[in-house]
């Protein structure tokens, strides 16, 4: 089973990482990070902190575009073009295919994030004479969030087409970030901590303006990533298992 999963992950990664969309988006975000230091800071704080905030926002948008562009289209296109037949007609379970597809996409998003983070760090280092290593902490948090979004999008794509998947994924991102406020009791600012929220992956404050986050917080994000992704992939497997290809 491991060899089958590894073979599929390798193939998905190799195929997806060579797609132009990934590198066009990263290149565009890289160019924006070059011009970011020339933006006015409007006196909102230390210029380098504002740059880090912009870099994290660019990181998030870049990763989101890459994640949704790949995850919303891959499975529907493989079913439509019958690519999936060559895989599933062999001794491969459908959940193997789903998990491997998701894993491959998560790896590619990780590579794209790494590339962008290196560019952002180099720009920050040259302009502000500061080693912004904490941007890697932000990249890690964004990467985990994209893993969850990829799992949900892959789950949707087990049953729907690219347009529905894209709308569904973006709706999930919106609700995922606002659910904490939506479910908050009138007297509180946010919902109880047990309500899962994508805001857990929002580390702009500690990374851009503070001293980063600790290992405990990293582990809690990892736990949320595993729980939400696992839930989405179990649902996706159930949907794909019932589908006639």
């Amino acid at each position: 089973m491991t060899d089958v999963l590894l073979a599929l992950v390798t193939a998905v990664t190799a195929d997806a990482v060579r797609r132009k969309v990934v590198w066009v988006v990263v290149l565009f975000a890289g160019l924006l990070s070059f011009v970011a230091p020339s933006l006015p800071s409007y006196g909102v704080g230390v210029a380098s902190a504002v740059y880090r905030e912009v870099a994290i926002a660019l990181m998030f948008v870049t990763a989101l575009v890459v994640t949704v562009a790949l995850a919303a289209t891959r499975i529907p296109s493989e079913i439509e073009r019958r690519t999936v037949f060559n895989v599933l007609a062999r001794d491969v379970r459908r959940w193997h295919y789903l998990v491997a597809t998701w894993s491959g996409l998560v790896v590619v998003v990780g590579v794209a994030l790494l590339a962008f983070t290196v560019v952002a760090m180099v720009v920050g280092g040259v302009v502000y004479r500061e080693l912004m290593w904490r941007l890697f902490q932000a990249a890690f948090a964004v990467w985990l969030e994209m893993g969850v979004i990829a799992a949900v999008t892959v789950g949707l794509s087990s049953a729907f087409g690219p347009v529905t998947n894209t709308v569904g994924a973006l709706t999930f991102v919106f609700i995922g970030h606002s659910i904490s406020g939506l479910l908050a009791p009138p007297s509180e600012h946010s919902a109880p901590r047990w309500v899962p929220s994508l805001e857990a992956f929002n580390v702009i404050a500690p990374v851009a303006h503070g001293s980063g986050y600790g290992v405990g917080y990293a582990l809690s994000m990892l736990g949320l990533f595993i729980a939400l992704s696992g839930l989405a992939l179990v649902g996706a497997s159930a949907l794909l298992e019932r589908r006639d290809l």
């Binding site: 089958v4 073979a7 195929d15 019958r82 599933l88 007609a89 001794d91 491969v92 379970r93 290809l245």
Partner: protein
Amino acid sequence: MTDETGSTTSAAVSIVSARKDYGRAAVGRPEAVSDVSIRVERATIHGLLGPNGAGKTTTLKMLLGLVRPSGGTFTLLGRDAHAPGARSNVGFLAEQPYFPMQLTASEVLRLYGRLARVPRDELAAQIPSLLERVGLEGRESTTLARFSRGMLQRLGLAQALLGEPELIILDEPASGLDPVGQRDVRNLMLELKASGTTVLLSSHQLSEVEAVCDEVTILDRGRVAARGDIDDLLNVAGQTSVRARGSGGLPESVRAIATDLAVDGDVMIFSIPDQAIRRVIDDLDDSGFKLVSVQPKRDSLEEYFARLLENPAPGGEVQS
């Protein structure tokens, strides 16, 4: 142990009473496949024929677990086709196959080889030889985005052959190939059969099926319309085809019983009842005709197919 096709379960493929009902989701008739039974003997080439929408691809998909059957039993190489591990020794070429287009030919074969559990060292040896076998030598490092339709088809054949499976299921293998490619595919199927591999071939190309298949199953509107040994299906019972060269008309005694008379230059081709062969040969000899051939009358598969579909038997099945 026997199945509905009256056979033991040691066949390479056994499908018994397969049924697929799409219900309200159906575009055409709800039941795409109704009570289809197919048996494919080991080391033979079995053709699956039928017009568009006959249920061929749905039947193959049910066999391979791509579509959930509404009923029936499916066996591959003596095992339940949907049990884990049952398809490990089966190669499959889908109709007009497509692959991850950013991968190279050797990367694609490495992927499918690993899915087929071919050991890595064997895989490294098989990839170049398979590419050569399907006419793609020297293309190992070419990205599939640069492949033509025919080259993708050839690559599809190569991936179906990975790991030397005992059973190969080919859905329209000659689709997208030029005449030379089609001939190569025919020869490949015959080579596979000679080496003991079983081939289940679904095709629209009747000449291809007639040239290579030992047995055929013909589907029409989701049911088995005919099945059997291809010679038995195509030979016209009680009739012999005669070709004779000579000038002038046929002797009166021959003309009286000859049917389907055709003239090609000075060669006359006609059919006669089997019991009149001796007398017809004598009469042709006496009239100065030279016999070119005398053989059992045989329809082309195309003629048989057209006749069968124009006049389906009540109940939908004619067996040889």
